[in-house]
Every structure is written in C-alpha cells, then in structure tokens.
C-alpha cells in the first residue's frame, strides 16, 4: 500500500448548522486516528479587554452582544458576578423570578432553533431545515411556534427578542405588571403542549448506540433544575462554589483554535450542557418534564450525545412549564432593581446557558470601574470533549467512506450545539487519512 492509499483526508470546509464559524481536521493513518482538531479560527473578539475601564453597570449590555442566541446567559452571569463583587445576592423574590423567566425564554428560543432547524435534519436525512421543511412542514412550523413563545418572553421581559436591553445590575430597568405577564400564558401553554409533542417525536428518532466518557459538569441548585445559580458539581465528585472556579478549572491555548480549551485540573476534559444538566439534576425536573423524559425512554442518566435532542426537548417542557409557574406566582416588586453600591472587590457568576455552563469573573474598583474581566463560555469548556467524541466516532466508523464519515463527524459536532461565536464564527472539516 502506498502512502497516499494509506492516508485518508476527509474535509468539510464549511460546516453547516452550527452557530459561528470554525473548522475540523481529522487525519488517519491506516486505522489509526492520528489527529482530531476542532479548529475555531473566528477571530478573537476581545470582549474581556473591552470591559476593562468600563463602568460595572455597562457589563450586562456589553456582554449581551457576545451572542445572538444566548444574550440572557451573558447578562445573568454578568449581573450575578457583579452583584457578588458588591456583596449583593438576589436569590429569591420577583426579581430573581423574572431573571429565571427570561432565561426560560432564552432556553426555549435556543433549544427550538437547535432541535428543529439545526439538529433534526441530521436524523431525517436532509442537508438543512429548508430542504426538510418541504417534506416536514408541520415539524418546522412547530419549531417556529415554540421559538415564537420564547421570543415573546424575551420581548416582554427583556425589551426585545435579541440582545435584550432591560436587565441591569440589581434587577431590571422596568418590570412588567401581572397583567402584562398574563399575555404570555396562552402562548406558553401552547408551547408546553408543542414541547411534549417534540419529546414524543424525538424519542422515535434513530440513535447510534454510543456513550461518551468525559466528566459531566453542571450547576446544582437545591431549589430546582439549575438555570441561574448554584454550586458547580460533577459526576466525578467536583463540588465547588463559583468563587473556586479558577482553582479547579484551567484554560490553556492550543495552536489550532482561537478559543481557549478548558479542563478540570489534574483530571482532563469535561462536558457541560443539556446532557450534564440532565444527568446531574434530572431528579429536579418539574413533574411534567420528568414524566415526559421517562415516557421517551430516558433513564436517570443519558450519556449518548445523539440523544441530546431528546434531552433538549425535555428541557423545552421544563422551560415552558417553569415559565408558567413563575408567571402564576409573580407579584410586581416595589422597585424594579435593588441598590447595588460599588466597592472594590472580585465577584463570580455561573449560570446555565442553553449549551452549558457560563462563568464570569470581574474585578472592580471602589468607583465601580471594571479592572479585570474573565468570561469562560460553554463551547470553550466543551471543545476538548467534542474532539474526544469525534475521535471515538471516527474509530467506531472507520470502515465508512470519507463522505459518510464526514457526515457522521458533522453530526457528532452538532450533537453538542457548539456556539463558536461565543467561544471566540466558520467551521471547515478536514479528515486526512494516510
């Protein structure tokens, strides 16, 4: 066999249906997988540098611009970290409820986009949602209806559906009245029904029988399914407060990516996101979501990334059901925000973005000027686990043609709903066989 025959290069220069732009390179020599690189070459965006010298009150609006899909995650992690720096914690009451409500809206927006527009075509055999919609119009319309419900929450509570402008350190600029929130009840009840249908539909999809190894990391909130606060826990025994993040999670630069790779110190790669949340906090799902997960055949644990579409559907039930509960108990607060006076200090905030853990740390001075900022998005944290998952996919399907293998690899990446824009936008895919 010549060297050329022994080498396989499989390359997709522009991977579709992921948020942002990156590349993947896989090189095989014979049956050996020599190299797997998720290459994020979207230019760095320097948001952490932009934040230095700005008023602490500006951080929610600046960081919201990092991502069009999960701005609420950025805003919530930012306000929690800055409130922490100022000795304030908003852990109960209507302001916290409104934060959870708008976060539910973001989960609904993001998950419905991923489940129906980005992920479903992989299972139904279409290159994209447009082609799929010609044969599965009802399915796509369901996704759009669900997304509309999420947008409605974002618009009402956040001021607009994308890059909301109403959240601030200490609370909101304006809070909705009970009557205004009641307008969301009908669309959300419909969304909950559509989400339940989505779980039932997703459970019928064909799934490759695979499990992945990395440690799962998610927030733990004793009061319920984690969204906006909590300790950082793992199925490997990690149990830390957000203030301890730096002691246990390290980021390092790799030559092939503009996004830093994160790993657990002395342990290695880990995975955050829907699978991790489900495995670590599935018991805390609301009854409707838990029942739906069982009906879909999910046990207490799910480590098959292909089944993440079912877990996202379960989280769509969770988010719409919780949003309804939050609206039901809502009483308009006396003031839309609590006073947060700046002081010199460092604060930490960790929340569950739709695609995983999002950590912020800020150092501010006594005037409230940001001296240092650190933001660790979920896709940065998941990069190494995604590469390991890709390696396993290639090893398992090495007999496939280059074209089939490339499709499998693309699917494996989309299972994790990476947001490349967050982590630093393009995804090229190259598989090199020698």
């Amino acid at each position: 066999m010549t060297s050329a025959e022994h080498t396989r290069i499989i390359r997709t220069d522009q991977l579709a249906r992921v948020e942002g732009e990156g590349a993947m390179y896989i090189r095989l020599e014979g049956r050996e997988v020599r190299e797997v690189k998720l290459r994020i070459y979207e230019p760095p965006r320097f948001f952490e540098a932009f934040l230095r010298g700005r008023a602490f009150t500006e951080a929610p609006d600046i960081t919201a611009r990092i991502c069009g899909i999960c701005p609420v995650a950025y805003q919530t992690s930012a306000v929690r970290a800055l409130e922490d720096a100022c000795g304030v914690a908003i852990d109960e009451g209507p302001i916290r409820d409104l934060r959870r409500l708008i976060y539910c809206g973001e989960w609904i927006e993001s998950h419905s986009l991923h489940v129906f527009m980005l992920h479903a075509p992989d299972f139904l055999g279409y290159p994209g949602a447009v082609e799929m919609s010609r044969d599965h119009r009802e399915l796509v319309e369901r996704g759009l209806q669900l997304k509309k419900a999420g947008n409605a929450i974002m618009t009402l509570v956040g001021g607009r559906a994308v890059h909301p402008v109403n959240m601030r350190v200490g609370g909101f600029y304006r809070v909705p009245s009970r009557v205004e929130l009641r307008a969301l009840v009908d669309p959300l009840e419909r969304a909950r029904e559509l989400a339940l249908e989505t779980v039932r539909w997703a459970a019928t999809l064909p799934f490759a029988d695979v499990e992945i190894e990395p440690e799962h990391v998610a927030l733990h909130d004793p009061a319920g399914y984690p969204i906006d606060r909590g300790r950082i826990v793992s199925d490997g025994g990690l149990d830390i407060a957000p203030v301890e993040f730096d002691q246990h999670i390290v980021e390092h630069q790799v030559e092939h990516s503009n996004a830093l790779h994160a790993r657990l110190r002395d342990r290695g790669s880990y995975l955050t996101g829907p699978l991790a949340r489900y495995n670590l906090a599935g018991h805390a799902l609301r009854p409707a979501a838990l029942a739906a997960s069982r009906e879909a055949g999910l046990g207490p644990s799910c480590r098959n990334p292909f089944q993440s579409i079912v877990v996202r559907a379960v989280e769509l039930v969770q988010a719409s059901d919780e949003a309804l509960a939050l609206i039901d108990r809502y009483e308009e607060p006396d003031t839309p925000a609590v006073e947060v006076a700046p002081r010199h200090g460092v604060g930490h905030g960790a929340t569950e973005a739709p695609r995983g853990l999002l950590y912020h740390r800020y150092e501010i001075d006594e005037q409230g000027t940001i001296r240092d900022a650190r933001i660790v998005p979920p896709t940065s944290q998941n990069q190494r686990a995604i590469e390991e998952d890709l390696r396993a996919v290639v090893e398992r399907h090495i007999e496939l043609s280059d074209q089939e293998l490339r499709f499998r690899c693309e699917q494996a990446i989309r299972n994790h709903d990476p947001c490349i824009s967050c982590s630093t936008h393009f995804l090229d895919l190259t598989v090199d066989r020698r």
Partner: protein, 169 residues
C-alpha cells in the same frame, strides 16, 4: 418595552431594514428604515427595523401582500453598490456560509424557509448595498453613507408602487 404579541394588521407592504447597528456598514438596512420612519408615512406601508433573528422575519412578513427587505451585502463589488433581487422569484446568489452577518441564521435561509413553508409574500424584494467595513462600533463607511439617501428613496418609491399595485386593491 413592547407587547409580547405582534398585533400589527396583516396585508399591505412591509419594509424591513435589517442589520446590526454596531457593526459598521451592517447598519445600512437599519439606517434606511430609520430615515423612512422619520420622514415618510403612508397607509398600507409599514416600516420596521429588525436587528434580530431572521427566523422572526417569517412572522413579520407572514400575511403581508408584499415585503421589501433592505440589508447589507458583501459580494466583492465596490462599497456602496446597490443591487435589487426579486426574492419571490429567484434564489439569492450567495454562498451558504462565510458572511460577516452576526444573525443567528442567514437571511437566505429565512427567505428559503418562507418559500418552502409558503409563507413568503407574493411579492418579496431585497435591496442590498455592498458594505466596506464591518468593524464593531465603526459606523457607516463613506461610500455607504453616500448612497443611503438614494437607497431610501428607491425603496420608498418601490413600496408605493407595490401599495398601488392593482392586485392588492
């Protein structure tokens, strides 16, 4: 803060300026919409700015008789070049990826999704102006700034033409 449900009347002509007003020339569509909203008004023509997810466009233009979209493009033409596309009749000649758009899904996907779901207005046009710079916070580049007034005039004349189109009377 706006209401949760878009209660705008259906029918008529919808003009949508698309883009991101913090990303240089990507603000061109937004700027056209702002100028039209400030200076022009006619029954049956609604002008909207849209900085968000193109999937929402499906909701915005569903039930309209006609839609005119205004956005920024990057085709390699000189900055400030204006092009018109009948998107109700033709596919956009664009690559699927690789734009500087910060929109969650591409405008092209929203148009094609609308076509597949039969939710594209009977007449749908896109006016696109070639951008030169997309840097954060940079504002419109001189070549684009120069053609914005002309583009706004052109879009408005087109909207009036669609509004008086006999099939919509």
């Amino acid at each position: 803060m706006t209401g949760a449900v878009d209660r705008e009347p259906s029918g008529g002509v919808l003009v949508v300026g698309l883009g991101n007003d913090l990303r240089g020339d990507d603000a061109a569509g937004i700027e056209v919409a702002r100028r039209l909203r400030q200076s022009r008004a006619l029954p049956g023509i609604r002008v909207r700015e849209h900085q968000g997810d193109p999937a929402e466009l499906l909701e915005l233009w569903s039930g309209r008789d006609a839609a005119i979209l205004v956005d920024c493009m990057r085709s390699g033409a000189p900055p400030g070049t204006i092009r018109r596309f009948d998107v109700d009749r033709q596919h956009l000649p664009v690559r699927r990826r690789g734009s500087t758009s910060s929109h969650a899904i591409a405008l092209m996907d929203a148009i094609e999704l609308g076509r597949a779901l039969q939710r594209l207005p009977r007449q749908a046009l896109l006016y696109a102006v070639e951008g030169g710079t997309f840097d954060a916070g940079s504002g419109l580049s001189p070549p684009v700034e120069t053609v914005i007034a002309e583009l706004a005039d052109t879009v408005w004349r087109e909207a009036i033409g669609l509004r008086v189109c006999p099939q919509f009377q």
